[in-house]
Each structure stands twice: as C-alpha cells, then as structure tokens.
C-alpha cells in the first residue's frame, strides 16, 4: 500500500509528463475499446437487423428449398405442417412462398424472385401493410436496392411474368406500393414482395409455402418432418465469420498502438530512474531495500495505466457514449456481396472487452515499467546518491 501511495504522489509530482503518458495510454485504451465497440456494434446490429428484417426467431425451410439454387424453388414448397400452421394463426410465425419470376423494367428482362408474405404479419419489420393498399393491380413491395437497380419508384407499374404451378405463363402489371429501406440485402436484391394470398392465387399453388419465419424469442420449436429448422447458428454463420475476421485484423492495430504507448512508458521509466538516482539512493539510505525501491518504481510506472484507465473513462466515456448514441457512419462498400451492414453502426462496448483490455494494459505497463526499474537492484546506493550512474 505504501508503494502505491508513494507512487501516486511521485506521479502527480512529475506533472505534465505523467499526464502525457497517461493520455497516450488512455488513447490506446480508448481506440481499442472504440474499435472493438464498433465491430461488436456491427455484429449485434447486423444480427439485430437480420432478426428484425429477415430471420425473426429462426426459420423452417422446406426440405428441398435451397436459397442458392433457383431450381430448388420448383419443388421446394409444401403445405404448412399443422404445428407450424397453428403458430402462424397465433401470430407466432409467418410463412413465405418463393417463386421465380421476371420483371421487365424498361423492356429489359430481369430474373427475380417473387416472394409472398402475409400483409398483416408483424414478425419481421418489412412494411407489408403497404400491400393492403387498395389498388386495381397487384401491390408489390421492393427494397431500395431493387428500386435503384430497376429504376422503379413509388406507385410505378411494372410488368412481371411468372409461371403458375402447372407451368402456364402469366404476366401482370404490379404496382410498387412501397419501397422499404433495410440493411439486409438478402431480402432486397432482385426481389419483389407481394401478399401471400396473391402469390398463391397467381401461381395456383394452393396453400403451399417455401419457408416460415418464426417470431423472435420463440424458444421451443417442434421438429417437423419435411421441414428443416434453421436456428441462428446456421443463419448467422457468414456474418460471424466476417466479424471474427474484422476483429482479428483489429488486433494488430491494438498491438502496434499499445506498443507505442508502452514505448512511451518505458522511455519515461528510463528517464525517471535516471533522473531520480539521488532519490533512489535516499530511499535506500532511509532503510528501504533495493528491491523495495524497484517495486516502488515499478508501481509508479504501472500506475500510469491505472491513471490512464481513469483518464480514458473521464474523456473517453462521453465520446464513446455519444458515438454509441449517435452512431458511426458506415459505407456500404461490401454490400454487393450480400452482407448486412447498417449505414450507421452504434458501437456496443462489451464490459468483458473493456476489462480484458484494461488488464492487458495494466500488465504490460507493469512489465515495461519493471524492466528499467530492475536496474535499480543493481545500483550502488552510494553512487545513486551522488547521481553518478550513467
């Protein structure tokens, strides 16, 4: 305890340089927390967006359905199994039917997926209520990406062509009754959403559906033959991989940044010990053992980290809080590859990360403080007293 008290006093006494070191360390801590916060925020937000917009509390897929294989759509649908049908009626799930179709914006054919969903659903955030708007033609919802690609706007009519369950061609004008904006490209790119009733009627497929989205938080799910339950594990696999990769890339930045901050502490320690030889001698003369003095100086160096944590908390918290509140602008650079990225990420600061990082900074600072301090043990107190050690 004595060492801590003394170290604290000494640090405070050193004034500006202490604060610069503390600032540098706190900057490192801040940036690490900030960066991991952004990544974690992205992770959570991507998943939250996916949950809110796409996957709800998980999905059931018809056993033949494979979203990456358009051919699977021919057979990848079936009647709602009774258990899930009950869930749907209870508002705990919503079925979706997927068919292939072509739209002809400006006379150029574009192959798309036409998806049918219950307009009164509230399982996902898609504004399906727009589909209920009174209209002579079929109402459809598209996402902003699709709107941009096809240059379709609200209220526009566009021809859509499909084949019904028997293979008969049909085409109709559909009216863009809503354009939704989502961070989840998976429900936007090359997709047109219509009401499930309409789609079932259009395709004459009866009551069949392709997949079912469960309500969030629905925990107990029945096993249904012919239908495969898709939990978050499999639905989030891609985003998990990417988040992990981002995190790994960040670690190197932490390491370099921390190294530099530690270099500052190390350097300060060397200077401190050099400058305060007489003091070291005095401590020994006053009856401290040399190792006690080593400990004293190590604690002093290490205390930079404690102060830096406090400093980071003092100046960093408002910034982190503000960013977490206001969000952090993100470009949509890699969206083309189907990743969910919000334009604004609200960093999430995990207590675990902050604690781990604080501990790492504490330990590493202690180590770099100890290394130069160790020299004290080998000092001759008589020479230290005279300030003669080079």
């Amino acid at each position: 305890m004595l060492a801590f008290k003394l170290a604290f006093k000494n640090l405070m006494g050193a004034g500006l340089r202490t604060w610069l070191n503390v600032f540098v360390l706190s900057l490192a801590l801040f940036m690490i927390v900030f960066q991991s916060g952004v990544i974690e925020g992205w992770n959570r937000q991507a998943k939250r967006d996916m949950i809110n917009w796409e996957v709800g509390g998980g999905e059931y897929w018809h056993e033949l359905y494979d979203p990456y294989d358009p051919l699977s759509l021919n057979d990848g649908h079936g009647n709602l199994p009774a258990e899930i049908g009950q869930l749907c009626r209870d508002g705990q799930a919503v079925p979706v039917l997927v068919t292939q179709a072509s739209v002809y914006p400006e006379g150029r054919m574009r192959n798309i997926l036409m998806k049918g969903i219950d307009p009164s659903q509230n399982i996902i955030q898609m504004p399906t209520a727009d589909l209920k708007v009174d209209s002579a033609v079929i109402n459809a919802l598209i996402g902003t990406r699709m709107a941009k690609a096809t240059r379709l706007g609200m209220g526009d009519l566009v021809t859509i062509r499909w084949r019904d369950a028997n293979g008969t061609f049909d085409a109709a004008e559909i009216r863009i009754a809503g354009i939704f904006h989502t961070n989840v490209p998976e429900i936007d790119n090359n997709q047109v959403w219509v009401s499930l009733d309409n789609l079932q009627k259009m395709t004459g497929i009866g009551d069949q559906v392709t997949y079912i989205i469960l309500k969030q938080g629905l925990i107990s799910v029945p096993t249904v033959p012919g239908w495969i339950h898709k939990g978050y594990d499999s639905l989030f696999m891609e985003i998990d991989t990417i988040i992990k990769a981002k995190g790994v890339g960040g670690i190197v930045v932490y390491i370099i940044l921390l190294s530099l901050a530690l270099l500052a502490v190390f350097d300060t320690q060397v200077l401190t010990i050099f400058r305060r030889q007489k003091e070291i001698g005095t401590y020994v003369a006053l009856g401290m053992t040399r190792w006690q003095v080593v400990w004293l100086f190590t604690v002093e160096g290490a205390m930079h980290s404690i102060l830096s944590v406090i400093a980071a908390a003092v100046w960093g918290t408002p910034i982190l809080y503000m960013v977490a509140k206001k969000g952090f602008g993100m470009p949509k650079g890699i969206e083309g590859y189907g990743l969910t990225i919000a334009e604004k990420i609200f960093p999430a600061y995990a207590a675990g990360t902050i604690i781990t990082m604080t501990l790492i900074i504490l330990i590493t600072t202690t180590i770099v403080s100890f290394i130069p301090s160790r020299k004290i043990a080998g000092m001759k107190p008589t020479e230290a007293l005279r300030g003669k050690i080079q």
Binding site: S102, G107, R108, N111, T159, F169
Partner: protein, 243 residues
C-alpha cells in the same frame, strides 16, 4: 425456333373454310395445314441492340411433338442441331461434340437471341385439343377480312391461358396471333405475312414473332423453301441423329 414450331402447329390446325364457329374455324385451319410432316429452310432475322442478324436453318417436323433443326448459317452456328421430342429438348454442338439437354435455368434464356425462349419452344401447342374456340368478332388485316377467334385453354397447364387469332376468312389462315397470360396480359404476338399457295395449301412465308414484354422489333422467320408430307425417316427424330 419456337415460333417456327408454333407456326407449324398453327398451320396444321387452321382449316380453310370460313365459318363463324370457333371449333369449325379451328378445324378449317387444321385442314388447310394438315400436312403430316414439313421440311423447310428458314431464315431467321433477329433484331437486337446491335442491329439485326440472320440465321439460317433447316427443319424437319412431324406432328406436334417431333422436331429436328439444323443450323446452316452463319459459320458460327453451322452444324448446331436441336431435337425436340415431346417435352424434352436437346442441343448438339459440333464444336464440343456434346448433346446437352436444356433444362432448368437455361429454359428461360432466349434462343439465339430471338424473342423466343427455350421455354417457349417447350410448349405443346395442340390448339384444337387444348383450347375452346369462339368467334368474338371480325377485323381487317393486311387488307383481308378476318375472324377474330378467342381460344381458352381447356385444361390447366397450358403455357398460355388465352390466345387470340385473326383468321383470314377466305383462306382460313391466321394472320395474327396474340398470346395472353391468365390475367389477360398480352405476352406474345405473332404476325404472319406473304401467304402463299404451297402444295394446295396456304402458307405464311414470313412470320414476325414478338415478346411483348421486351422492347425491340421482334424476330422474323422467313421460309425460303418448304416441302409438305414428305416421309421423314424416324431416325431423324432420335438423339443419334444429333451427332
């Protein structure tokens, strides 16, 4: 290709007489074009973004369900052969020495850049057996009096639920056909020109086929020579003849 097949089917169906009963008109068309087989040389003119291209092919057909085509020009397409047997379609390409069945995704692609897709080619166009016909009015096309015939599919599963035919009252040959989706949307339009007398029957020597959902001028089929009711050896309609 598909247009060509549709065309042939239409010919087979269209009776010669003019009688304002749908069924009768269909039978007349049928009679007019009741040749068992056709062998013809066709020039297909496809208009596209880069101007028009001409492709020549020779085709052998028997009934509604068998058709064999060999492309002869240009050099790129020469030797390419297609075989249609009922609802299956194969393509042979000489450069690869491969026979490929066209299925799935590929069916939605356009054939040779024309307004026809392979899907269109797969249609089984048996009009009289698959459609109920009724005369809904008359019109004048190409300076000729026409009955307007509306065809409604008898069974589910026809590619087009509704067809509309403009049939020359005198020659019992359609001059125009429009194909509609179930909900009444016009999908395709075929126009027939240069109706010529061949082996006692009326035949259109030029057909323009247009996918109404796409922009563009459509695809022209110009029949350069045609022979009806020749005996075609069965081996033609087998995969062996593709190679």
């Amino acid at each position: 290709m598909r247009t060509f097949l549709t065309l042939i089917t239409i010919f087979l169906m269209v009776p010669l007489f003019s009688q304002p009963s749908g069924k009768e008109i269909l039978n007349l068309i049928d009679k007019n074009l009741s040749a068992k087989t056709q062998i013809m040389t066709v020039k297909m003119v496809i208009s596209g973004a880069r101007g028009s291209r001409t492709i020549e092919f020779k085709s052998w057909a028997e009934g509604e369900e068998k058709a064999f085509t060999e492309y002869t020009n240009p050099a790129r397409e020469k030797g390419t052969k297609m075989l249609k047997l009922e609802d299956k379609l194969w393509i042979f390409s000489p450069s690869t020495d491969r026979i490929i069945q066209i299925t799935g995704q590929m069916l939605r692609q356009s054939v040779m850049g024309s307004d026809l897709s392979y899907e269109d080619m797969m249609e089984d166009p048996g009009l009289s057996s698959h459609y109920n016909a009724s005369v809904t009015g008359s019109d004048t096309l190409q300076n000729r009096k026409c009955w307007i015939l509306q065809l409604n599919a008898v069974n589910k599963g026809e590619a087009y639920e509704v067809r509309k035919l403009w049939v020359d009252q005198e020659r019992s040959i359609p001059l125009k056909e429009e194909l509609f989706g179930k909900s009444g949307k016009l999908l395709k339009r075929t126009q027939l020109y240069n109706i010529t007398r061949i082996q006692g029957r009326w035949y259109p020597m030029k057909v323009v086929y247009k996918d109404m959902l796409k922009t563009g001028d459509g695809t022209q089929f110009i029949i350069e020579s045609i022979k009806l009711d020749e005996i075609i050896p069965a081996t033609i309609f087998s995969k062996a003849s593709l190679k």
